[in-house]
């Protein structure tokens, strides 16, 4: 078997390989795997040290440089298999032209060899070079998508929006944690700086320099309604919660319809599909009826003690269709408001123009709610993000 790093395969062959690699990187980008210029350079540097004829080594080298999220590994594997599936991987050695010396070989021969190499590095008659462009085109109408109601989306749009939401949640998570640092107030003496400052006065401590303590992480508890009436929105919301959960610590997520299920640990799965699968297996009352009052009451009594403090944002996501007793809901909401920093109610129905909060559940809950926001499309999730970022 041949062994050679990229510098030894010959100039033409190297060019072909490099060309193919760039195409492959474009393909990866089209699937939103971040391949930056720096990474491409590192790939080429890697190829100088490894044996490019060994498929698994080649694979590992590319993967290590390109993939940085466990969830992207499977996608990368599939794209790799699809793109680099030549008829044979091992390039047939040419007896006349020893590898490594073909730079000096007559041009026609070198050309021949390059073609041969191209053959084995090729895939599906170059269909790949067109495919990425198609995919890119398909991804462009972002603006339209951000305003579209989740309930009216299908197929490709769903996928696209899922990615958008996850990205947004992560961005939001980072911004939220930065704010805390900026908002820190100073009231602890910093001995090191005080010491250094004292040198100005010949070693006497004249000024006390203070250091800002880190604020405790504000916690967020999300209570999400997964009853039948919420069905079309639930997938997106869980997606959003998944993104938040994985970007930020201190978030608890609980879903409810007739009873409560804490899904925080389930959201910590390697990828969103596995998480969704697990959640749908675990949550037994999925798409059932709604007893918001009873559920919130149960939450207050069982979980709230560990989760809700005066620094906690409580977010309830529900359309407010309650089949239970309104008196229970009333007292539960009152208690929740007393405990939490802020109660935010997100309602997907609020997105439609002619919606009026008339149903009993919403009417009971509204007086206790600090913010009442829509949550039916990406734009509204973004609004919600701004609100949360301004609060903590």
């Amino acid at each position: 078997m041949q062994t050679a790093c990229i510098e030894e395969v010959g100039e033409r062959a190297a060019e072909v390989i490099e060309q193919k690699l760039l195409e492959f990187c474009c393909l990866l980008r089209a699937y939103e795997i971040q391949v930056t210029a720096g990474r491409i350079i590192d790939i080429f540097r890697s190829l100088q040290t490894i044996d490019v004829f060994q498929r698994d080594t080649f694979y590992t080298a590319l993967e290590a440089n390109v993939v940085s999220r466990a969830g992207d590994r499977e996608l990368f594997r599939q794209l790799f298999l699809q793109f680099w599936s030549g008829p044979t991987w091992v390039m047939p050695p040419d007896p006349c032209v020893p590898v490594g010396e073909d730079a000096c070989a007559p041009l026609p021969l070198a050309l021949e060899q390059a073609k041969m190499h191209a053959g084995s590095w090729d895939f599906r008659n170059d269909a790949g070079s067109e495919e990425p462009q198609q995919t890119v085109a398909l991804y462009s109408p972002q603006e339209v998508l951000t305003r579209k109601d989740f309930g009216k989306m299908a197929g490709q749009e769903l996928l696209r929006v899922q990615r958008l939401i996850t990205a947004m949640a992560r961005e939001l998570a980072t911004r939220m944690s930065r704010r805390k640092k900026a908002g820190a107030k100073a009231h602890v003496i910093d001995p090191g700086r005080t010491m250094r400052r004292s040198l100005r006065y010949g070693g006497e401590v004249m000024e006390l320099v203070q250091r800002g303590p880190k604020l405790g992480k504000t916690k967020m508890v999300v209570l999400c309604d997964v009853s039948g009436s919420m069905d079309i929105y639930t997938t997106f919301l869980i997606q959003f919660l998944y993104g938040l959960q994985n970007g930020l610590r201190g978030i608890e997520t609980i879903v409810f319809s007739t009873r409560l299920t804490r899904i925080t640990p389930l959201l910590r799965r390697r990828n969103i599909d596995a998480a969704l699968q697990l959640i749908s297996e675990t949550v037994q009352d999925w798409s059932g009826g709604t007893k918001i009052g009873a559920c919130l009451h149960e939450f207050n009594w069982t979980m709230a003690a560990n989760m809700v403090t005066s620094k906690t944002l409580v977010i309830v996501i529900s359309d407010g269709w309650d089949t239970g007793d309104t008196a229970v809901l009333d007292s539960a909401m009152a208690q929740l408001r007393r405990m939490a920093l802020r109660v935010i109610w997100l309602n997907p129905l609020l997105g439609s123009a002619n919606y009026q909060p008339l149903c009993k559940g919403i009417q009971t809950a509204l007086p206790y709610v600090h913010d009442f926001l829509p949550v039916h499309n990406v734009e509204s999730l973004r609004q919600f993000g701004h609100l949360v970022a301004s609060l903590i």
Binding site: R39, S46, A64, S68, S177, G192, N246
Partner: protein, 296 residues
């Protein structure tokens, strides 16, 4: 120590009792050649931290470890002035009255009064000898710290205003590990070679157990590994990693057990499952069922 091929490196790791697959060996090989950090992710107990320890031993390098936690800040990671000592020095200088203010200041901010934390230590150590820097459980640190880390990892240079800039001649080999309690920022990830360490296959785990627990009988080792593998198929809150398998194998060895039986397993289950909920779930019936699926 130079490695000329991936095979040689894999072999060297084996001789240091770390059974690694070719993919991991390739990553380490690349990291050494490209001088890039490695980011290892995987479930708890699959041997992420061990990689750094083994590499340090293998490269005859100094291992410097930075354990991340929530609230870790620059002072604890990089350097801090030894302020009580500085204070004392001032007082002594005052009493002796032998120096001017400039002299005292010059002395106070010399390296003698610097408390070196892991990152500075790694950079300084990188000036004289090969160094492996292990940044453990980076997902536990705060986002701000991550941004700072990014700065250090990109050029291995630290500026201390009072002293000047320090730069590692040869950048240390950096291993970052993460348990994925949260996603690490993309900018940091881009600097690193990424590798996911999965739960090992039966063969690999068997090899690990035989290597790490020398006295164990082949039969028992095989049973333990199969059982651990089957346990991972179950829906536990925390599934056992290789570390747990090894603990368990050692426990069984010390107890003088020669084969797995339900009472034996129940006695030693604390080695494998660490949560009460999981222990409750693993009742006699479940253990019996799993045990029956194991080929003898």
């Amino acid at each position: 120590m130079e490695f000329h091929s991936i095979e040689a490196l894999q072999e060297a790791m084996h001789t240091h009792d770390y059974i690694c697959d070719r993919a991991l060996a390739t990553i380490v090989f690349l990291a050494l050649k490209l001088e890039k950090p490695i980011l290892l992710e995987g479930e708890a107990g699959v041997g992420k931290t061990e990689v750094a320890k083994v590499l340090a031993a293998m490269l005859r390098a100094k291992l410097i470890r930075l354990q991340c936690y929530e609230g870790l800040d620059v002072n604890t990671a990089l350097y801090e002035w030894n302020f009580p000592r500085q204070m004392l020095h001032i007082k002594i200088a005052e009493a002796a009255a032998h120096a001017t203010a400039e002299q005292i200041e010059h002395e106070l901010f010399s390296t003698d009064y610097l408390i070196k934390r892991p990152l500075l230590e790694a950079i300084q150590s990188g000036m004289t000898q090969p160094t492996v820097l292990l940044i453990d459980e980076v997902d536990r640190s705060d986002e701000e710290f991550e941004a700072f880390l990014l700065e250090v990892l990109s050029d291995f240079q630290i500026s201390i205003p009072e002293i000047g800039t320090m730069k590692a001649e040869r950048p240390p080999l950096v291993i970052l590990t993460s348990n994925r309690t949260r996603e690490i920022h993309d900018a940091l990830k881009r600097r690193c070679l990424f590798h996911w360490i999965d739960y090992p296959s039966f063969d690999k785990e068997y090899a690990i157990v035989r290597t790490k627990v020398p006295g164990i009988a082949a039969h028992l080792a095989s049973q333990v590994c199969q059982f651990a593998e089957a346990m991972r198929q179950q829906d536990f809150y925390k599934r056992p990693g290789v570390a747990e398998t090894l603990d368990w194998a050692r426990a069984l060895l010390y107890l003088g057990r020669e084969r797995l039986e339900v009472p034996t397993i129940e006695e030693t289950l604390g080695c494998v499952l660490k949560y009460k909920e999981d222990l409750d779930k693993a009742n006699e019936d479940l253990l019996e069922t799993i045990l029956n699926t194991i080929r003898v």
